[in-house]
């Protein structure tokens, strides 16, 4: 186990060394919330001074990793320092520790890379991905309930989507609730659903046709079907 000061930038953000910029952004946003003043998850554990220190370190880690040039420099330095990792490292899975022990003679770049890849087996992205694989394969029929589940699952409030897509959150809510009567003309709904799906990371090409088919199917002739109701 190492203190906050001893974690490298990747470990601090709980991401792998091959993390993409999107993953870095997400991890940083997540960590910012986790270690914010008044965060529920900190309650009774970290004192405000400790949390502040962690936040400062997170900011620094993000400043470096978000900048491709600084990140490359940092990675270079890490490569040189990597073999010095002490044995008392709780972040390392047992198998990795054993393997490294047996090959400590030639701890070259290779071994460092491999240990880096397994630093955070339970990182945010892995868990989300894992959940998603179980929860949703991303194909098949999409209804409002499934959209909402995916949204919550991926950690978005309606207002988050609204601020990204500029779509009024009332519309978004109506889409989830399949409150078809309250939605504007289909051509708009199509755009809303597309933006919604994109924002939370679903494939619009699958989601939009499926959802629109439901919408159209719901009419089934009983709908008044004014000009604005139809395409």
């Amino acid at each position: 186990m190492r203190g906050i000061d001893e974690l490298d930038h990747y470990e601090l953000l709980e991401i792998s060394r091959t993390a993409t910029s999107v993953e870095i952004d997400r991890a940083y946003r997540m960590a910012q919330q986790t270690y914010a003043d008044g965060s529920l998850a900190l309650y009774s554990v970290f004192e405000s001074l400790d949390a502040r220190a962690i936040r400062d370190r997170l900011d620094e880690a993000y400043r470096v990793l978000a900048d491709p040039e600084l990140r490359a420099q940092y990675d270079e330095v890490m490569k040189i320092e990597a073999p010095v990792t002490i044995d008392l490292d709780s972040n390392r899975p047992i198998e990795e520790a054993l393997r490294q022990d047996s090959e400590h003679a030639d701890r070259g770049r290779d071994a460092a890379d491999r240990s880096a890849a397994s630093v955070s087996p339970d990182s945010f992205d892995d868990v989300v991905e894992e959940f998603d694989a179980i929860e949703d394969d991303g194909s098949g029929e999409f209804d409002g309930v499934r959209l909402r589940r995916n949204r919550l699952f991926r950690g978005y409030e309606l207002d988050d989507i609204s601020s990204v897509t500029k779509v009024n959150s009332t519309h978004l809510r109506n889409i989830e609730d399949e409150n078809f009567g309250a939605l504007p003309a289909d051509v708009y709904v199509r755009g809303f659903v597309k933006a919604y799906a994109q924002t939370i990371g679903l494939d619009p090409k699958v989601v939009v046709p499926s959802y629109m088919a439901r919408l159209e199917g719901s009419r089934g002739g009983t709908q008044p079907g004014g000009l604005f109701g139809r395409r």
């Binding site: 190492r2 709980e14 529920l40 709780s90 179980i134 929860e135």
Partner: protein
């Protein structure tokens, strides 16, 4: 605690050295009223429906009510009979439930003096639980962080912590974790001096100024490197798992990830976020209906989340596979996922 599914248990462990022993799962949470029993009952039911032979045990002798949630009349015999040495065979305390593959051992008792088993009795109890004729034994722990509660948690293959998105529950969860952590560490230490150090660290206002597990490790390192190594090794296998119950917003969902991150940075412990269960009024009512919600309303969100956690506990589909095949196409991923998923019929509400 061996949280890795399918790993052979070390033969050196006397408690686990039986030929065929059940997987032991403990559900705790520190605070009362966070939905431990609700989660336990529904996970047990979900696991039974996945074809496992499950026994759920009400270890909460002071507030036994598991039977009520399962619609079982107050059992005539209960764990109290074992605790008070009136019955030596746990198997004889098993009671059928309305759910196929699911049996239970109640915790009700007529004599308050029976409530706390002695240490020796507890060891026998734990051994007996593993020898029950079942695939999985789920323990519904009582509230609080007493040694008796902690030991069930520590000895189990999976210790699951249920918490709710509110400060009191989070605080209690950490109190519980902290107590479990230090107890586990003290048991792992060999030397008397180091054990005393751990005991001292448990008191937040100790004279050595040990505030965090890391501080403690530094102290131990300074005294004895072998003990320090044991400390770190024990930390590595101490893997509590987290369920957030009563979720109402995306913010609440994220709490699980946040707590997991804090556990890692504060305790140096990998606490896996197993999943969350949404707030559901009907789920609360299911308790008065005396039937698990996963039976009552299979297609409700709350049931889907609970069943998902159950599948995850069984490693369905394999978590490591999902990560390994990160670059796979959606089509190949769909096959195993679709197999295990119970889709709500038509997806309508």
């Amino acid at each position: 605690m061996n949280s890795t599914t399918g790993m052979p248990r070390p033969p050196s462990d006397p408690i686990r050295a039986t030929n065929r022993s059940a997987r032991l799962l403990a559900v705790g949470g520190g605070k009362g009223g966070v939905g431990k029993t609700f989660v336990t009952v529904n996970l047990a039911t979900s696991l039974a429906r996945l074809g496992k032979r499950v026994v759920v045990v009400d270890v909460d002798l002071e507030g036994a009510n598991l039977h009520t949630c399962l619609g079982v009349p107050t059992p005539q015999r209960s764990l109290a009979d074992f605790v008070s040495e009136r019955e030596e065979d746990l198997g004889k305390l098993l009671v059928d439930t309305p759910i196929e593959n699911l049996r239970m051992i109640g915790g009700t008792h007529s004599n308050l003096a029976d409530a706390q088993p002695s240490h020796l009795r507890r060891v026998r109890l734990l051994r007996g639980l593993r020898q029950l004729d079942a695939d999985i034994v789920l323990l519904d722990l009582g509230a609080g962080s007493h040694a008796s509660v902690l030991d069930y948690f520590l000895v189990s293959d999976d210790g699951i912590l249920v918490l709710q998105p509110e400060p009191t529950s989070v605080e209690n969860a950490y109190t519980f974790l902290r107590a479990a952590f230090y107890r586990r560490m003290r048991l792992a230490m060999v030397g008397h001096g180091v054990r005393q150090l751990v005991t001292m660290a448990m008191d937040q206002r100790n004279e050595r100024g040990i505030r965090t597990p890391l501080d403690l490790l530094r102290e131990i390192e300074a005294t004895d490197t072998a003990e320090a190594h044991r400390f770190v090794e024990t930390m590595r296998v101490f893997r509590p798992r987290i369920i957030v119950n009563g979720v109402r917003s995306a913010e609440d969902v994220k709490l699980g990830f946040a707590v997991s991150s804090v556990c890692k940075k504060y305790f140096g412990v990998e606490a896996e976020y197993l999943g969350y269960v949404n707030y559901d009024d009907e789920a609360r009512q299911s308790v008065s209906m005396r039937r698990p919600i996963v039976e009552l309303r299979q297609d409700a969100d709350v049931s889907i989340y609970l069943q998902r956690i159950a599948r995850k506990l069984l490693g369905l589909p394999s978590a490591s596979m999902a990560v390994q095949n990160a670059g796979h196409s959606a089509a190949t991923e769909a096959a195993p996922a679709a197999e295990t998923r119970t889709r709500p019929p038509g997806g309508t509400r």
